[in-house]
Structures are given as structure tokens and as C-alpha cells.
Symmetry: C2
Subunit: 157 residues, 2 copies
DNA sequence: CTTCTAATTTGCAGAGGTTGCAGATTAGCT
DNA sequence: AGCTAATCTGCAACCTCTGCAAATTAGAAG
């Protein structure tokens, strides 16, 4: 996504107005790698500008997405996530904490796809599943703790 | 997804009951390549078994997904789609008609992923975007028809 | 600086999609 | 045939997101 100052210019050029609400959202999104949902942005924005409406957050996110300044992601469980990183990249979704990480994949266009049946591919989106580093150590500790535990079979009925 | 008879066995083995409603859904899903939504399945099921509840459809779909017999897909626009094809495959989503096609991709594990930062990948899901064959010809015809139309610039102000 | 107008903000109602709950029903074991 | 836990159904509720209309405001023009 462009820097706030550039977005301001782009918005005006398109006949869109640059309100304080929008400026705040521009700032909150700039260099934000958390893939926030509309609700999450609303929570942060509300703390800095009490009274801002959730409706306005959605409105601005949709405007930005329409201008190609945001990548829209379907997180799987309900809420849409917005990614200000619009360079060509993909995502890694942690099975444990649910967080999404940006990853870069080489030679995606060189993949050999079968069964296309006349479908013409324009782009690709990859979501990797697995465990992020913090969650791996968390799980390792947990299994360590459970090493000496009795199993279900050993429990009295 | 397994054949209805096998699913019946698996359900019973897990202490789950096999009701007429579930048997119907097993049949409707078997070899179904349409990636139906819960609503779509409900519509088909209702025609064959009037009175079946949408709630039951969701229930059974969730059970099947939990058993790994269905792949769950986020279609992008709202409704979840269910795919009885659980072999390793990916999807091609048509920008025009919104339909999903199963495709097979080779050497996905050989992709070179950067910026993993300790994330350990377990699996990958790829969604290709583009146009399916029918939609390409439809669009081609449309642009043919528009060839002799005046452009906006030529319109009187 | 004032005026004007179209764009924006807000709050609320409402549309999907999905789940929780409770009472009635039923699969399938004994 | 009887029993009990699993299931079905209908409905209410939830969540995310959008439509709408009245009030406000950005920013251009005078």
C-alpha cells in the first residue's frame, strides 16, 4: 500500500475526499503486517478517534481494495482480512494460533497444472498450512510436560 | 470421500448413527464435483426428502469434514463450499461465473518459499484465478458485439 | 473568508451464512 | 420389545457485512 501522503493524493485525484477518519486508517494500515480484520482496525481506530463508525472502516477498506491498495483475504473462519502488502506474495497460516504470515514464493508461474480443461490462469494465491515458530516451541514444551503423564488407558474407569 | 457404504461403516464405528438423512447426503456428495454450498445441498436434498432440515445438512457436513471426508473451501463470497474430493488437488476459480474447478498441480512441495522465519509447512492450498473455457468464449462474443459501438469519448456531453 | 454541493460519516436496520439450544424422535444395542 | 444416547427439527441468536437516509463536512469556486 502507498504511504498516507500518496494515498491522499490518489484519493483526491479520483474525486474522493480525505477525511480525518480516512487519514487515521491510512496510518493504521501503512506497513501493517498483521492482516487485520475490519473489526480489529475498528478497535484500534476507536481508541484513537472515539466515535468513528465501523461502517466507515468498512467503507474505506472497500475503497482501498477497489483501488488495488489492499489485498483481500478470506481467513477461513468468518471475517475478511486486509493486507496492505500488495506485492506478489503468499501466506502461511498457523494451525495453532491462526496467524497469517507473508511469504514469497518463486516460480509460481512455472507450476505444472493438469486438468485445466481450457481454463486460462491469470494469477495464483497460495496458502500454506503448518505451525509458526512460536507455536512449535509451545507444543514441544507441552508434549515434554505430558511425557510422564498416565494415558487414558491407565486411568481408572 | 468414501462411498456411502464405507461411510456408514465409519460412522457406526465412531458411535455415530446412520440416519436416512445422512444416507441421502452421503449419496448426494459422492462423486459430486460441483463444490456445493450447504444451501445448495439442502435444496437438492429437500426435493428428495421433504422436511429435511438445513440444520441437519450443516450438522452432517461438519461431521464429514471433521472426519476428513470433505475438504472445506472458502469461496470468497460468503458461503462455505464442500469438496468431497480429498485427494491432493487445488482449485481454479473463474472470475466471471464464480465456478470452482478441480486441478492437479505437480511438485508443489518443491516450491521455493522465502521469509518462512521458522514456520514449518505441512500442506499447501492453491487457488488459481482466471477464466473458464465457457466464460472466455462468452466474453469473446461480447467484445465482438461491441466492436462497432461508439466510445464514451464520442458521446455528446 | 463565505458559499455551495457532492462526498462522507453515522447509526440502525436488515441480509446472508452458520451455530446453540431444547424438546421430540429414532438408531441400534441388549 | 425396551432402553438410551445420538439425532432431527425449528427457532432464536450470532457474526460479518451492506443498504439507507439524515446530518455533517471536504474542498472547489467566488
Amino acid at each position: 500500500m502507498l504511504a498516507p501522503a500518496d494515498l491522499t493524493r490518489h484519493f483526491r485525484a479520483r474525486g474522493l475526499k480525505v477525511t480525518p477518519q480516512r487519514q487515521l486508517l491510512f496510518k493504521l494500515l501503512h506497513d501493517n503486517a498483521t492482516h487485520p480484520t475490519a473489526e480489529a482496525l475498528f478497535a484500534t481506530a476507536s481508541a484513537m478517534m472515539p466515535g468513528i463508525s465501523l461502517r466507515t472502516v468498512y467503507q474505506t477498506l472497500n475503497d482501498l481494495a477497489a483501488m488495488g491498495e489492499l489485498q483481500v483475504l478470506q481467513s477461513g473462519n468468518g471475517a475478511t482480512r486486509f493486507d496492505p502488502n500488495v506485492s506478489e506474495h503468499h501466506h502461511a497460516l498457523c494451525d495453532r494460533c491462526g496467524e497469517l504470515h507473508d511469504v514469497y514464493v518463486e516460480a509460481v508461474d512455472e507450476l505444472h497444472v493438469r486438468n485445466l480443461d481450457g481454463f486460462v490462469i491469470d494469477r495464483a494465491g497460495i496458502v500454506f498450512g503448518g505451525l509458526c515458530a512460536p507455536c512449535q516451541s509451545a507444543l514441544a514444551k507441552k508434549s515434554q510436560r505430558n511425557k510422564n503423564c498416565i494415558t487414558n488407558k491407565e486411568l481408572p474407569q
